[in-house]
Amino acid sequence: MAVKNLRRLRRGERRQQTDSGFPSTPTDVVEAVPIDDNDPLFTFLLATGGPIEVERINLESPALSEIRAQGVQLIVPLIAQGDLIGTLNLGRRLSDQPYSTDDRKLLAGLAGQVAPAIRVAQLVRQQEAEAKERERIDQELRVASLIQQTLLPKELPRLAGWDIEAYYQSARAVGGDFYDFIPLTDNRIGLVIGDVTDKGVPAALVMATTRTTLRGVAAHTDDPGEVLFRANNSLIPEIPPAMFVTCLYGVLNTETGELVYANAGHNLPYVRTASGVSELRARGMPLGLLPDMNYEVLTARVEHGETMLLTSDGIVEAHSPDGDMFGFARLQKLVGGHEGGPDLISAILDELHRFQGFDREQEDDVTMVTVRRLSSALESATAFGDELGAIASFKLPSASGNERKAMDAVAEVAEGLGFSGERLQRLKTAVSEAAMNAIEHGNKGDPALLVEIDLLANAQKLLVRIRDQGGGKPIGAPVVPDIEAKLAGEQSPRGWGLFLIERMVDAMRTSVDGHHHVIELEMSRGGN
């Protein structure tokens, strides 16, 4: 610290004062002469400690030659806390008399008072500068982390039969990690994980550009290789030359578990299978380096009960206090040793913290995404706790008789949730009636129009949402059919559907918008 201060002084921030009359006018002030700390004069003055006549110094010193040339007669070293922080250089006395012993005493006393004061001023100025620098860095970090937080998904996708978890923890110097979920058509979703080489605001901006580019391209082509090819070409002019982006892009079919993927140099995903861990390996160059790169496209399949793990290199490149790297082998072993449930992320974090030491600052961003295909409807329903999670969905063409298919499909899932006996029968009747209404009234029996059925559940209840394409007209409140009037032929014998549904379930809700009717059936999971 002392050396730094000295250097500042030597850079001439402070001017050395000469006495009046030197060299030509009494008020003349000359430029400060920097004294390098390997100049012998530096050590000499520090050792001398008090005022000294220039003519008495006999040293091979560049600074001394300069000082001499300025006509300086007396050098008064300013020493604080054992460090030379400056000098007071005086020219000839106005009287042309040599400096007396009293003069030198006075100057030595003055130097003794001034030096600590200057030192304090230097320290204050230094601290102010450091505080300003810290503030600037903090501000930049805030901006970078704001960009990142804004662009990372706010919510995880809720997919029937899947449990998706994500973890992101930025390092102090916010890196360029990102992940994204891109909704696609036909029960498919785009999975993205990536990492920009660099940190701070520049990395965050490149991450933002990459994310937007991928989203844009993914909307136009299904082929992950083509997505990366096009993203690469559009990113090249956008990315500073020293930066690039590693990125994995996969398209997951949530019905079949099929994953079509391509990889632009990102860490390989792991899939925890019943027999061990497999790596999803596809070759490709990082984005933003060279134009017209081709990306290998491979297909994998995530089976029921299997978990896929996507990571950034903040995990494998973490260091222990001894300097060892966490490494892929350790991560792979961890994944293999875990049963693959939603707590895989916390298991990896525990091990990571143990490895790098709990009190040490995280070196790089750590990002993880787990994509688990649930093994059963029951597991789906319990995976969400109190929150309602999508556990299954079906789409059926509006053909007569398909209400039976809807009924059987829902019943199968409900049985998996523990529904049985009377309550299962009631649910079946309600679903059959609601699906029939959707087919016959909402969709007017047009086989081209679909009836969409979504099942959501939590630990307490099951919701069945049945949606048709016949919006516009509201669904009337169920009226209690008047059987006497029907038997007397005064009323149509029909009109039982909505009434029956309402009596079968714990709660029934209907809604309508410009395009759809939705009927929601709620059944408590207790009492089976």
Partner: protein, 117 residues
């Protein structure tokens, strides 16, 4: 899973006529059920009841309820007693909810249904 096609067979018993219903009762069952009813009552006097056997019926939907309401209206217009047995607890509940059971007595067994005069 497609449903079981509907069929209805008539048996004449001492206490009345029995129609053995098999399969799904929905709107498609209407014509066949009416025909079976006509066959069942042919040659029987007005006081002879018609008993519907639901033992082999697994599925009745609201359009099937409408078919039964139509048949019940016809029987009541003729002053004939229409009875039922063999309904599963679930459909017994539905017959209660719809109040069909108020106009068509439900029995546990076929002999019970035929025993009442």
């Amino acid at each position: 899973m497609p449903g079981t096609p509907f069929s209805a067979a008539v048996r004449q018993e001492d206490g009345g006529s029995v129609i053995d219903l098999v399969g799904d009762i929905d709107r498609n069952a209407g014509d066949r059920l009416t025909a079976a009813y006509l066959e069942a009552v042919a040659g029987r006097d007005q006081g002879s009841p018609v008993v519907l056997s639901f033992r082999d019926v697994d599925y009745i939907n609201s359009t099937g309820i409408a078919v039964i309401v139509t048949l019940l209206a016809k029987a009541r217009a003729e002053g004939r007693s229409l009875r039922a047995w063999g309904l599963s607890p679930h459909y017994q509940e539905i017959f209660q909810i719809t109040r069909l059971a108020d106009f068509m007595t439900l029995y546990e067994t076929e002999p019970q249904a035929l025993a009442v005069t």
